[in-house]
Every structure is written in C-alpha cells, then in structure tokens.
Amino acid sequence: MADIKLHDITKRYADGTEAVKHMNLEIDDGEFMILVGPSGCGKSTALRMIAGLEDISDGELLIGDKVVNNLAPRDRDIAMVFQNYALYPHMTVRENMGFALKLAKVDQAEIDAKVESAAKTLDLTDHLDRKPSNLSGGQRQRVAMGRAIVRDPQVFLMDEPLSNLDAKLRVQMRTEVSRLQRDLSTTMVYVTHDQTEAMTLGDRVAVMRSGVLQQVDTPRVLYNDPVNIFVAGFIGSPAMNFFSGTIAGGKLKLPFGEIAVPDGVSHTGEVIVGIRPEDFEDARFAPANHPAGVEFEAPIEVLESMGSEIYVYFTFQGGEVSSDELAELARDSGIAETPSGGSGLAVARLNPESEITQGQRATLWFDGAKLHLFDPSDGSSLKRGRQEQQAAAEATAEAVDAEQEKPPPERAAAAQDDSTAAE
C-alpha cells in the first residue's frame, strides 16, 4: 500500500501535442481516487503513465515516496484492470489469475491458495478451469479484477473497467468494486467517463478537461461547489442548466425574473447562471416563505415521469448561453444531457405528485439561494474563493489557446492522437 504523488506531470507526444498538462495530484494511501472527464481529456493517459505503460515527458511521479518515472511496469508493484479486460485467451481462469504470481516465482501451493481465495471473493470458483472465451462479459470482468487482487499490489489502476458491461451489470459491479476497495483498503485510481460512477465510487474525484486538472475534491463539494462551468456541467445528471444573466444595481436579472445578488459576489455585468434541475420545483410544492424563492411561468415542452420524480423540459427566451466549455460537454455527452447548451431548453426535477402536463404553461419555482454564478469570460465560479480556480482556469485557457493556434490539419491529427491515447 502506498500513496501516489504526481508532480507537474506532462505527457507530450512526438508531434508536440500535450495529452496531459502539468498535472499535480496527491493520492493518499488507501484512497479511492477517480479520474473523470470527457473522452480525450487525458485521464487514461494519466493512468497509463502511473502504470508505466506511457513515458512521462516532464514532471515526477512518486509511488510510496519513491520516484518511479523510469521504472518498468513490472517494478512498480501495481495491478491494472483494462477496459477490454485483456485476459490471456490461451490460459484458464486459474492460470490467468495466477500468472503474475507464477512470474514472481511464488510457490505453486501458495498460488493455488491465493487464486482460490480470490475466486471465492469474486464468485468465480466454479469457473476456474474454463477459458475466458467461455465466460460471459460480467465473469470476464471479474476475472480481470481477480487477476489484480491476487497480486496484493501497492496500487490498483482501473481503466474504465465497467464500460463494456450492460447497464444492470454495471450497477451491480459498481457496488462490488466499492466493497472490494473498502475490504482491501488498497490505493485505487479509477478512470471513467461516467460521472455517475465517479460520484458513487470515489473518496475524491479529479475532473479533467483537455489534459488539465480542473478540480479535485469529494463528490459532494464537486456537486455543490464546482470551480468552473465545466465541472458544474459535467457533474450531475441531468446536467445543470445554464442561463445568461446580468448583474446591475445589486440585482441579478434572469430570463425569468429578478433576484437579489447572492452574498459575496462583487462581479457586475454579464454572468452565466447555473441552476441544478432539483433546485426547481412545481410552484405548488415550493416551500412556503422561502426567502430566495422565485416563481415564474414557462411552457412545458417535454415531461418525463420516472415514478419517483418528474423531469420537465421547459423553454425560455433570451437567456441562452454559449461557451466553449458547454459546447464540449454537449459534444461529449449528447445534446440531451445538457439541454441548455445554447438550445433554449432547461430541465427541472419536480415532485412526483405534480400535476403539470406536457404542452401546458406551468408555474415553476426555483431556489435563488442555490444559484451558481460563473464569469462568462473564463467560466470560473464567482462564488468561491478565487485563488485555486483562477490557476485552473488560466491553465485551461492557455491549453485551449495553444490548441487553437495550430493549423487545422495538425489539430485533427492531434485529436486523433488523443483519442487513440484515450482508448
């Protein structure tokens, strides 16, 4: 068991593209750290650098206080689960799981004991003598996990281990992974593009965008207090709604009303306002006498009833937001998940007993105290202490500028490179 420290880690490819830019991250001993971000953000590359499968161009990587930059993967005492599992097809499950121990010249009896015990944990005992090709997707996934845990390594690295499973199995395995990590209390770095996985699994979550670390914190802080518009839009499902607003004379003007400017905001002029779907409500169910509540009317375009809650999509006029960050989010997740990505459509989560119907003009309410305000110039949050976020925003802006300065063909090539690296 060990902690991992990334000091100013950069990955630069031969053509000059930087997949990971000056990444600083400290992962504590026994911590479950999630790297999350849209595809091509450099999260897989970062993980593969920790594993030793990619060279580190710049910076220093420490595992357990030892600089491992130039160590081969086999000397780093790590175990990795690959997205496509990478099981050895010519070996049985038993041989697959025992391969690392056999290479380490561990006594055969001990190998058997360890494999049996891991198989028991993962419910694979009946399948030990089968070949991977005769296993289902979920079983293969468990074999891959088993191969990692028999090693009893210092660090577990997981590269989107659940993304090839179907939805139901994924939820089941998510619980399994979480339980496993708690039982073993081994440091784990887990890469995913799925923000739900990130939120449910991690002790802390590191959000990345175009190779730059945006924010590292507990899921709760990421959700309630995102440093910038990208993190705000990425974390949460359905995603946060964004509107443009103006601050003038102590008042914040929104497409659907005016409220007092929240405390601690000194900014004036244009702002981007973020409202989470659950901070809306059917006006009928709004808490009475809420000091910051605002009621407004909006036409309901689409209504989705989930049983436990209702999602309504309503249109609004004259407050559409367009920014690079949101465009990227929309591109990555499909427009449906970020309805306000410039489309004039917002989503609200309502009480399931609401009687609002599709096509109706309904009276909605939102909690003005839970607004998120962002600076339209760089997307940073206006509510938080500005120091740390400023640094992140500047680094991102620099990175994005650098990307845009390149002539188009080179950028295309770079993008392609990114995606191969991410795979």
Binding site: L53, A79, A100
Partner: protein, 280 residues
Amino acid sequence: MQSRSPGAYLGWTLALGVVLFYALIPVLWLVSLSFKSPATVSDKKFIPADTTFDNYTTLFQGGLDSPLLRPLINSLSIALIATVIAVTLASFTAYAIARLDFPGKTLILAGALAIAMFPLISVVGPLFDMWRALGLYDTWVGLIIPYLTFALPLAIYTLVAFFREIPWELEQAAQVDGATPWQAFRKVILPLATPGVFTAAILVFIFAWNDFLFAITLTSSDRARTVPAALAFFTGESQFTAPTGNIAAAAVLVTIPIIIFVLIFQRRIVAGLTAGAVKG
C-alpha cells in the same frame, strides 16, 4: 450455420465434385503410372493392367547409394532446417514490425517485398559463381541460404498480419503482471500467434521442398541434391527405356511428406484462438 435447401445442397456437391475431379485426376494418373511396368506404361489405361511395385523398390535399391534415399534425406533436412531458421527469425522481425516504432521499419517491409518479387532465375547465375568461390557449392548450407532469402519475406508478411491481430493490451497486461518483454513475448504473444507460426512454417517448408531451380543449379552430386533435382537424373533400366515409372513413383513419394506436414499442422491452424481475450 444456416440450413440449405436440398437443391442448393445438390448444387454444392456437384460443384465440389467437379473441382475435386479436376484437381485430383493428374495426381491419380501419376499414382497409376507409378504402378505400371515399363511394358505397359504407355498403354493409356487408367487402371494398371499388371500392378507392380518395381518402380518403388528400384528407387531404394543399394541403400545410401540408391537413386532416391540420399536425395530424400537431403530434401527433408534442408527444408526442415530452412523452415526452423526462417520462422524463428521471421517471428522476431514480424513482432518488431507489428509492435515497435523504429526508423527504417517501412524500409524493411518494402525490402522484404522487393526480395520476394525478385525473379529466382536472375540470381542463380551469380549465386553459382559465388558459391563455387566460397566453397558453398553442392552443400546443404549452399541451398539453405537462398531458401531463407526467399522464404523470409513470405514468413515475415504472414506473421506480421498475425501479430497485428493480437490485442496490444494483452502484452501490457503481462508487463503489469510482472513479465519482462521476453516473457511477455514467449508466454503470451507467441502462444497466441501459434496459428500464424504454423502457417508460415508450412509455406516455407513447401517452398523449400518444391524448389527445383536452386537445387539443380547449385548441386552436382548426392551430397546436397534434393529430390526434385534428383528426379531429373533418373535413368531407365537400359538406355532405350524411359524412366517414366520410376519418376512417377518418386513423384508420389515426394508428395507424401507434404501431405503429412500439412495434416499435422493444419489442426493447429485454427482461427479464433484469440477469442475471449477482449470483449467482443
């Protein structure tokens, strides 16, 4: 598998029958000739009138000095040695080409292709002179070297295709599991490439076994003469009889090792060995 209608089944059977007939008739004719005596060899009958094994027995009369035994030993040894060396070298080369990025990679592939396209006849002359000067003329080595030259490109191309099919993650998984590059190659990559290795081996063996041009040019005695070349030196029982029966018998005999070789290894050449490595 989708089931076929009886009509389609009949059609396929007929088509296959025609192809088999077309392909096998010359072979059967050869077998028939090899059992005929010199008197009936040109009687134009498919079934030999008087079945005789004389053609076969005379081939081996005289032990090591017999017309066929030494050439057969030469052929087998030379072809096997060339195959082993070619496949070993080609596995390393192909692995490097499929996996590593190094300067001159395309040059190697292009060079291999260029050699494969080179007409054999254009090099035998110079080789003849060179081998005589170097003392390689009429030796096993003298034949193995040119066979390697022309078989290696073939083997490299075959193996590169197979290595490219193997997911790279497998090797990385092995590295993370603590394998040295050599262990990863030997314990993970090579077992998965077995079908490719055997395919390449068969191709190289057949090339070396069947060669006539080098064998006839670069040998002068039974020291290194292989079967195809030896056939050309068969003589009849007297100077007035054609050695048709003997040649036919020898031709049947040289076909047998190839058939055995292919039968052994084709069982190893099963597709889909990598199934189950990765999801899909």
